[in-house]
Amino acid sequence: MSAEVELVGAFADEERLVHCIGQLKAAQTRFRVFSPIPSHHINSAIYTRSSFVRWFVLLGGITGIVTAFMLTIGTSLEWNLVTGGKPIASIAPYCIIGFELMVLFGGISALTSWILLANLPTFEPLSGYRPRFSSDEFGLVVRCAEADAERFESVLRDAGAQEISREAA
């Protein structure tokens, strides 16, 4: 089996990059994209399914609602003082706390889940990363067998990569 290499292509243009991603997917090779902006086009060119973050947020929101009603009803039953002639467990006002804790737990779940799913925090640079990919250029890192490197270099070049470099994987 021949050694693997990584080809790093720098693109100035999002459209050309998306076109190149389509070709790489057709060739069933492994690649990674770096982008200075969030791009719906890049995301939908690579992934067919939405992020799992939404399920964590749903779970967090439900946990918040359940927590709120447990806290309010449980505490009221423990301190069963009638105030203002209202029921000990007054569901209507507790819905406000239910809403607030749903948002709170859902938001905390959103932050923690996206950070964990994105493999953050990490203080080691991903292979092929260049500082300019956080600024004004798009990066496409293709991992392939050394024997296929020339073929993928020409795919990158034809797609409009401004600069291509080869690194050991």
Partner: protein
């Protein structure tokens, strides 16, 4: 303006946007540190007055029965209101894909965080024994305190703490790609600091995939939260039986007022910042025009609310309600009501003029008037209603004390100091979102400077 237009690049690239924002973050000069020193001195003066209040008790304030809520609670409601526009601009306008938000939302969001941080001080400052501040937290306890979850004050605790947390998470999430950007050119301690804050972000497809979903969902969660928080704050008053407070209109009325005052504060901060930091190529007259239109719209809503509130008092024909409103207009504090009407209802009508909406000096002056008017609105509702409650024999008008005024000034200084520090050391304008909508920025530049060019 025409002189400035010559220097403005109407066709910026990603690199130009980075250059403009990174230039703001260059090490500041002596004038900046003098400004920070001035604000720090005022903040410490406020802190010293609070220390004195803790030592001597609330007798050093003008508070007394029946006006037990006055300047401190007014400040609390004012700053919570100020905080609203940040999340409105960052979350609600994000969901609606509003084009002009990209240049201004980070400043508005930052203002939100620091405004909530300022607001959160006041319930504690208002306490006679602030070291027991944690008694405010409603949870089952062994201190013979009943946490009453039917009380609007308890709802407020949940609402404000949720709002601060969610706004901070939303703000922090949006900051990460921009901090990673400046990390790449930073040196020394700044590089270490930005590396930690950016969590090692590199903008890979996997990172963006989860980031984008989380950002969208946080915006979705924050949107109803914006409306709920000031509704809950309004219920602190509306759930009471006091004439002048007990009104069903309070929730929408407070939300509109919060957006009105918050957007005005955004412009109060943005206009000098744009001038001092030379941000004319990123924040254009088109952005100012759109923010001014929001102020105009919410001013009309607030004016309508004042009319409806007065109408309902008249329509009820309740003598106590009628007397409260009579005292509000013509009593010893009547001048405050008329200042409020002038600042919130009359002066903003000038914004019907497109020329004023895009002229920085008149716009800045109008926003100052709105800030003053909204502070008085809070005071008139809170302290004014308490001063003239059910029993005329109990009527008493509060007089300001040096302590309350000093702490209020200190709070403004504290807020401005935090904002000024952030604006110099962190990306106060979102490079990522400006680049994402670069065609909109170019359109904004062409529209904003078309007349001057």
């Amino acid at each position: 303006m025409a002189a400035a237009v010559k220097d403005i690049n109407l066709d910026p690239t990603f690199a130009d946007i980075d250059r403009s924002v990174r230039a703001i973050m260059e090490p500041p000069g002596l004038r900046y540190w003098l400004w920070i020193g001035f604000l720090l001195a005022l903040t410490l003066t406020g802190g010293a007055l609070w220390t004195n209040q803790i030592y001597n008790g609330l007798q050093v304030t003008g508070l007394g029965d029946p006006v037990m809520w006055a300047v401190y609670i007014t400040n609390f409601v004012f700053w919570v209101g100020i905080a609203h526009s940040g999340t409105l601009i960052s979350a609600i306008l994000y969901l609606f894909r509003t084009r002009w938000r990209t240049a201004v939302y980070r400043a508005a969001e930052t203002m939100t965080i620091f405004a909530v941080a300022t607001a959160g001080l006041f319930p504690v400052i208002h306490l006679g024994r602030p070291w027991f501040f944690y008694w405010l937290a409603p949870y089952p306890n062994q201190r013979f305190l009943q946490p009453d979850f039917r009380s609007p004050l308890t709802w407020d605790f949940f609402a404000i703490s949720t709002y601060l947390t969610i706004s901070s998470l939303f703000w922090f999430t949006g900051l990460i790609p921009d901090v990673a950007n400046v990390r790449e050119i930073a040196t020394g301690w700044r590089k270490k600091f930005y590396t930690i804050v950016a969590l090692g972000w590199q903008g890979s497809d996997r990172q963006w995939r989860h980031f984008s979903m989380a950002y969208l969902l946080l915006a979705g969660l924050a949107t109803p939260l914006v409306l709920s928080v000031h509704s809950v704050v309004s219920w602190d008053f509306a759930m009471g039986q006091l004439p002048g407070w007990h009104s069903t209109i309070f929730a929408p009325y407070f939300v509109a007022g919060a957006i009105f005052s918050g957007v005005a504060m955004v412009l109060t901060l943005l206009i000098p910042m744009r001038w001092v930091m030379g941000l004319e190529d990123l924040i254009t007259p088109w952005h100012l025009d759109n923010l001014a239109k929001v102020i105009l719209l919410t001013s009309l809503v607030v004016s309508y609310s004042y009319i409806v509130e007065s109408f309902m008092a008249w329509y009820s024909q309740d003598p106590i309600e009628l007397m409260t409103f009579h005292m509000r207009y013509f009593g010893p504090w009547g001048w405050m009501f008329w200042v409020m009407v002038a600042c919130n209802c009359v002066i903003p009508l000038l914004l019907f003029s497109p020329r004023i909406r895009t002229s920085t000096v008149p716009l800045f002056i109008i926003t100052i008037f709105v800030n003053i008017g909204m502070w008085f609105e809070r005071f008139v509702i809170i302290a004014g209603s308490l001063a003239t409650n059910f029993e005329p024999s109990q009527w008493r008008f509060w007089h300001p004390s040096i302590t309350e005024m000093g702490i209020t000034v200190g709070a403004f200084a504290w807020f401005l100091m935090l904002f000024s520090l952030f604006a110099r050391f962190m990306p106060i304008i979102s490079m990522t979102e400006l680049k994402e909508g670069i065609t909109w920025l170019k359109q904004a530049l062409r529209q904003g400077y078309a007349k001057a060019a």
